[in-house]
Amino acid sequence: MTSTDEELVARSMGGDHDSFNQLILRWERPIYALAYRTIGREEDARDVCQETFLRAYRALPKFRREAKFSSWIYRIALNLCRDWARRERRTPVVQPPEDMDLIEMAAAVGPSESIEDLVARKDLTARVELAMARLPDEQRTAIVLKEYHGLTFQEIADLQGCPLSTVKTRLYQGLSVLRREFAPSPGRVA
């Protein structure tokens, strides 16, 4: 039977390293995806992800169990992303991963997708990445947390430390900018 996060956290706090490793296994993908979409660099996202779990492990004795582990770990990751942005003093750089396995992606979708569709999808991905990188940090983070991590407005508000209405406004403004960015340009040849 699969243990809940809370059970694994309790056992980890008691010194069970395997339980913490299970938490890493469960959360490393979402945390890495969050870091990648927030800072836009694959290598740095890996570093942030590793650092997130290391910090969590060190701070485990201070963890208050009434909070959700996922919220706690998201908060650590977001703080690290913010630190990264401050340190680098620049907006996220969109950099397609070196080994972007588009062929494998296509295979995963099915043989019906042609190479044309594949390239078109890559174009779309690049446009999304660019448009997201241009958004202000707060709007981008709100969209990433809602769109890709399925957090509730309240959870995002807690993570971002702002009122619920601000989260909704940030989402609305961010999506509206993306809407304009995604609109086909008039001179584009189909």
């Binding site: 991963p97 062929i103 190479i115 594949l118 407005f153 909704k168 993306l178 040849v189």
Partner: protein, 265 residues
């Protein structure tokens, strides 16, 4: 109902986003759903933002199947119990070696230091432990006594020297065993297999990259071709139109000329 302006209350943007993500209070949902059929602005925006969400779905983060430690196995980031026994046979540091080996090595170092410092360390049950210097100095010349010479028996070797030799051998055997373990053929084979895997993976990646580039070039040339065709078509149309206009003018001039000629007659 006005189709160009929304008449929903002041928090319309927030409610629209909440409705879009299906994270909305039931009362707000009810009010917004009642408003939607009559408001073209909200319907249009809702559709457009849904399309944006569809576009966002295309943005996949690179997979971390290879582990967040890069190409290392997925277990690259794991907490390991520092007190758990190590399976590895090699000692990375002196501190990882067994206690007996550390003690023996320490004794060797002490013995070597004493030798270098020219110190004589002796122990006898009667005199106890005594330390003296200059034990390697050549012995003073012995003048033969006129009395009948009694040759002293050669002193028996100190027992600690034998122990030291045994310990030295033991340490050397231990070190040799460790060295042999790290140089085992299994280790070489595993290393070779790993290198081979890395090379194969690199080749596969390059092939994929090449296929992708080729597809991109093909697509770009196709797009360019279509654009060129559109341009040619447009230019041809312009030429045809101008030619038609020219023909019409010539026709009109001919008509005018014919009319004048018939009038003069």
């Amino acid at each position: 109902m006005n189709d160009t302006r929304c008449t929903f209350d002041g928090r319309r943007d927030e409610v629209l986003v909440a409705y879009l993500y299906d994270d909305i209070e039931p009362r707000e949902r009810e009010a917004f759903e009642a408003h939607l059929p009559d408001c073209l602005v909200c319907r249009t925006e809702l559709d457009a933002l849904s399309d944006v969400r569809g576009g966002l779905a295309a943005w996949a983060a690179p997979d971390v199947l290879d582990g967040i430690g890069g190409t290392a196995p997925r277990s690259a980031l794991r907490i390991v119990n520092p007190e758990s026994p190590r399976v590895s046979t090699g000692f990375r540091t002196f501190a990882e070696a067994p206690v007996w080996l550390q003690a023996a090595a320490a004794m060797l170092v002490v013995a070597a230091s004493l030798g270098l410092a020219n110190l004589n360390l002796t122990y006898s049950p009667s005199a106890g432990l005594s330390v003296s210097t200059g034990w390697m100095r050549p012995a003073p010349a012995v003048t033969p006594a006129p009395a009948p010479v009694v040759t002293a028996a050669a002193p028996a070797p100190d027992p600690w020297q034998a122990d030291l030799t045994v310990l030295e051998q033991k340490v050397m055997e231990g070190v040799k065993a460790q060295f042999a373990a790290t140089q085992a053929p299994d280790g070489d084979a595993a290393l070779l297999a790993r290198v081979r895997n890395i090379v194969q993976e690199s080749e596969r990646r390059q092939q994929r990259e090449l296929a992708l580039r080729v597809a991109e070039v093909a697509r770009e040339s196709q797009v360019q071709r279509q654009a060129d065709l559109v341009k040619i078509d447009r230019n041809l149309g312009l030429i045809q139109r101008s030619t038609g206009v020219e023909v019409m003018r010539t026709q009109q001039q001919l008509n005018t000329l014919a009319q004048r000629v018939s009038q003069q007659r």
